[in-house]
Symmetry: C2
DNA sequence: GTCTATAGACAGATAGAC
DNA sequence: GTCTATCTGTCTATAGAC
């Protein structure tokens, strides 16, 4: 259901479009899939830059190369498109956590997590920004079950970190604040590329910039939590080797 | 130093020495100040939740307790209100950096920076979110002068950190990525309070949560960069600071 | 499936009486 | 300074011809 807010032009929730079997015919579904993908791509770009209300369906249609009415043929409302974009992001998000298991080496697992998150931020910057805007705005459209899922993921992996700490593999730290810090530090490059570019003096972030970010994050946060073999130099110090 | 003069015609608050037609010694100006403040407060809340396009001037007026036309009496357009909100934030932002001077002790200076940023995020969460939304959307309204100022601030204080490193007071690290990390980690609690609440299992963030955040950030990032006297325990060690 | 034309609603901004 | 009434433009969503 739509979160009813005073300013939202909530209108009717019409029936879903005709549902064709997805595995039935190849040709019609091919067109459908292609057009849906075009619409979602255009919508992601626009939602990320202009937010929900700032995005015009006419412009989505324009960028997708379709007439506006066709967009309404595939999606019954603007909100349905927005939900689809958010869902697209969440579907591909949990992957970064998969390295974090009780039996894993904390240092390797967390470094992989950081690198996965950064890689995701680099490749899916626009989706990240749609999500960030949604959270900033108070999660007005985020479905409850998605939010609940994120809560549970945090709890699950915090417990893993606590296990590592109890086993003496890591120095004690509140794992929830740790995940927040890692999340914030990695997500920043996807959510606020403009600030990152300005800070780094770039016009665009390169792969090397993301790599440097990973190095700094790991060399500071992880080195202080997980005593490694040689902990003398932090970064690029010549005498540490 | 605050970012100065972005050319806002209305909404200036200095007392003028000479009152022309309206005498009575600033009673009218008192009303003006008060109403402008009410409008900005309402606008900040709405812009933070609904973004630029999602915010309705009618609702701003409603929350401010004024008729809509009065809002247009004090501000000539919606964008002018938005600019004023952004400016309000930037004016109060550089203060956090003031502890970072070449002669300062790096550990103390950076810890103060982290705590100042967190305190600002706690007290000005809504303004932070307006700014975050503006950046996420591509800085469409942010004046170039303000952006340039932020770039210069980053450069200035990065140079200070580089001086510390050259003087052997800190382990080598790219100061720009360091500032990004500190910025991201602190700003997160103001920009994404919903995620922070979900992660921490709170309904609202308390002062203690911000304090715990400061401790984790300092205990991880700063401890690994600035060798302190006793670096055995990371957190919850009886003798810290 | 595709697309034109438009209904219906509502926003930002203004005119002008008080 | 305050506020009602309204103008003007634009948006979502739909009807209905191809």
């Amino acid at each position: 259901m739509a979160v009813t807010d005073s300013g939202l032009p909530v209108q009717k929730k019409p029936k879903r479009g005709r549902t064709k079997g997805t595995d039935e015919g190849g040709r019609e579904d091919g067109i459908r899939q292609q057009n849906v993908a075009l619409i979602l791509k255009a919508a992601t770009s626009l939602f990320s830059r202009k937010g929900y209300e700032g995005t015009r369906i006419a412009e989505v249609a324009d960028i997708a190369g379709l007439p506006k009415a066709n967009v309404y043929y595939y999606f019954s409302s603007k909100e349905e498109i927005y939900d689809a974009v958010i869902k697209q992001l969440l579907d591909g998000w949990d992957a970064a956590f998969k390295a974090i298991t009780p039996d894993a080496d904390p240092r390797q697992a967390l470094e992989r997590y950081v690198r996965s998150k950064l890689e995701h931020a680099r490749k899916h910057s626009e989706e990240s920004r749609v999500f960030a805007g949604e959270i900033i705005g108070g999660a007005r459209f985020l479905r409850w079950r998605d939010r609940h899922h994120m809560r549970q993921v945090t709890q699950t992996y915090s417990a893993v970190v606590e296990g590592w700490i109890a086993a003496g593999k890591m120095k004690p730290v509140d794992p929830r604040h740790l995940f927040i810090m890692l999340w914030a530090a990695t997500q920043f490059y996807g959510d606020f590329p403009i600030l990152a570019c300005d800070a780094l003096g770039r016009s665009r972030l390169s792969r090397a910039d993301f790599d440097a970010a990973a190095k700094v994050i790991c060399a500071t946060v992880l080195d202080s939590l997980i005593p490694s073999d040689a902990e003398t130099g932090v970064l690029d110090s010549p005498e540490s080797r």
